[in-house]
């Protein structure tokens, strides 16, 4: 059986943590969460995962595990998370309500900041995350509304804005990957602009270009490798109820 789009996205996101060593993996969303646990069960066994509350958990249990059944190995209340963030020992996969060509991300508000058309959650830790440790993005609804020429509020910092802010911002700034429901991207284009790395099976380059509100750099575009049979089996163990299928439109 061929993998679903969600499973392709999981395999693609898990790659951001390949050989990451002993760092904290912080996934936002169901598909990134399954991906982080897949990475830990396969090629990055030393990843540090949390219960999403205040503790580091042992292993990479199914996402359906009840809180009382998790085995915890250390306490990491919110205050201590900033010591992890600012130490750089973390690779987060955040979501983006908007993302632009240089990787600036918005999760604060759509429209003018003093009176938004749509109020979202807020900048959260995005400004600090993006200039202190590796930050990748997951966009489950790739369209010209999410991949935009300019984001309305810069929360996560892109390459152009980091460069303008100087070495204080660029020293630890790195955006390894963007994964959407259509493809995988990095910032290997001119001046660290977004480049299409691969399209998911069943998606054409033209579709991705049409769904993107800025000019994508197009190099050698390949097809996103799907999960292996072994990875698929692990994904089913981690997400036995198929929550992954509800995060993206078919």
């Amino acid at each position: 059986m061929s993998p679903t789009r969600a499973e392709v996205c999981i395999a693609a996101i898990s790659e951001v943590w390949r050989d990451a060593g002993e760092i904290m993996a912080s996934p936002f969303g169901t598909i990134p969460m399954v991906a982080s646990r897949l990475a830990k069960r396969t090629f990055s066994p030393d990843l540090v995962l949390t219960d999403g509350e205040a503790a580091i958990i042992v292993g990479a249990p199914p996402i359906t595990t009840k809180p009382e059944d998790l085995v915890r190995e250390a306490s990491v209340p919110y205050k201590t998370i900033f010591s992890v963030v600012w130490s750089g020992r973390r690779h987060i996969v955040m979501q983006a309500s908007q993302i632009d060509r240089f990787g600036n991300q918005n999760l604060s508000a759509i429209g003018p900041h003093n009176q938004p058309k749509v109020q979202l959650i807020g900048v959260r830790g995005a400004p600090g995350n993006s200039v202190n440790h590796k930050t990748s993005y997951w966009v489950p609804d790739h369209s010209t509304r999410t991949f935009v020429e300019a984001v309305d509020t810069v929360c996560g910092v892109g390459y152009d804005r980091a460069k303008n802010a100087g070495v204080g911002a660029t020293r630890f700034h790195e955006l390894p990957r963007v994964v959407s429901n259509l493809g995988v991207f990095d910032f290997s284009g001119p001046n660290n602009s977004m480049a299409l790395v691969s399209v998911h099976p069943g998606v054409t380059v033209e579709e991705v270009v049409a769904a993107t509100g800025f000019e994508l750099h197009l190099g050698d575009v390949v097809e996103t490798p799907g999960p292996t049979d072994e990875q698929l089996a692990i994904i089913s163990e981690i997400d036995p109820k198929g929550a992954r299928e509800r995060e993206i439109k078919a």
Partner: protein, 297 residues
């Protein structure tokens, strides 16, 4: 021996309009909601609310008690967005200073340590600086000598200013009469820093025990608020409702859902306000008990 026990009314009477008020907890977790409810009919206005935002922010902004908010986010956790907060923001009804949540931490820490700012990379390059032109940067002063890091010579860093509070309110699992308090759940959040940053320091608690009794409530290491950090202690059982107060109780998801549903429409919100938020804290707790009974039957 000093006895810091007090009442909600006494604490509110010490406030005045225009003050900057810090509210502890995080999102929809361990918020001093009994105080937030009292603020709703305090007659105060023009408050600046400093918060890791949960339902406190939407309630106070929507009621016109707060005219300014300093926050990194507003969320109800299990429900991502608070409809009251969305409405206030989308009608342009509030002055929002939005900062990275780590900067927020540094602002409280700077106030608690009585230094004017603490430096960070967080915020550089983002719209936190663009939207808040009052925030400044500093240049790394270490250009040579043993303390100079060559990779950071000339680096500009964000200078997060001290977030000084006129008053801070936090909710603890337990406190004692002398003014010590314990957070027996998994996370103390930033409550100790809220208290450290404030002039008037108020702790509400599920229970108040005799001085020296906190070691029996839980490990003494959980009693991280000592009495150098507090002025008033108020017993407010179920006082964080509907937010969580582990291990005493979880978030009341059914009630939070009812709040969100009601808040989505002005008419239903009026009815919800009349039923739950019109009276005293005791009235509120009675109405909640009734709600719980109804939803379980």
């Amino acid at each position: 021996m000093v006895d810091k026990r007090s009442t909600i009314d006494e604490a509110i009477s010490r406030l005045s309009s225009g003050m900057t008020i810090g509210i502890g907890g995080w999102g929809s977790r361990r918020k001093p909601m009994a105080i937030v409810r009292a603020l709703l009919h305090s007659g105060l206005s023009d408050l600046t609310i400093v918060s890791y935002g949960g339902p406190d922010v939407g309630l106070l902004a929507n009621a016109g008690i707060a005219s300014k908010v300093i926050a990194g986010f507003v969320t109800l956790d299990s429900i991502a967005l608070d409809p009251l907060w969305r409405q206030v923001r989308q009608r342009g009804g509030i002055d929002l200073t939005e900062v990275d949540e780590g900067l927020f931490y540094l602002g409280l820490q700077a106030a608690a340590w009585r230094v004017p700012f603490l430096p960070a990379r967080a915020g550089l390059g983002s719209d936190v600086l663009v939207r808040n032109p009052l925030l400044k940067t500093v240049t790394n002063p270490y250009v040579d000598g043993p303390f100079a890091d060559p990779a950071d010579v000339g680096a500009e860093l964000l200078a997060m200013p001290a977030l000084h509070l006129d008053a801070a309110f936090v909710h603890a699992n337990a406190a004692d009469t002398a003014g010590n308090a314990a957070f027996t759940g998994p996370d103390a959040y930033f409550d100790e820093l809220f208290l450290g940053a404030a002039d008037l320091r108020v702790v509400t608690a599920e229970t108040v025990v005799a001085e020296g009794g906190l070691g029996e409530v839980g490990p003494l290491a959980k009693a991280t608020v000592h009495r150098l950090l507090t002025d008033l202690i108020i017993e407010t059982p179920n006082g964080a409702h509907f937010t969580s107060c582990a291990p005493n109780y979880d978030r009341d998801e059914a009630f939070q859902k009812a709040y969100v549903t009601a808040a989505s429409d002005p008419e239903t919100w009026e009815a919800f306000t009349a039923r739950f938020l019109g009276g005293s804290e005791a009235d509120y707790q009675r109405a909640v008990a009734e709600f719980t009974k109804e939803s379980q039957s």
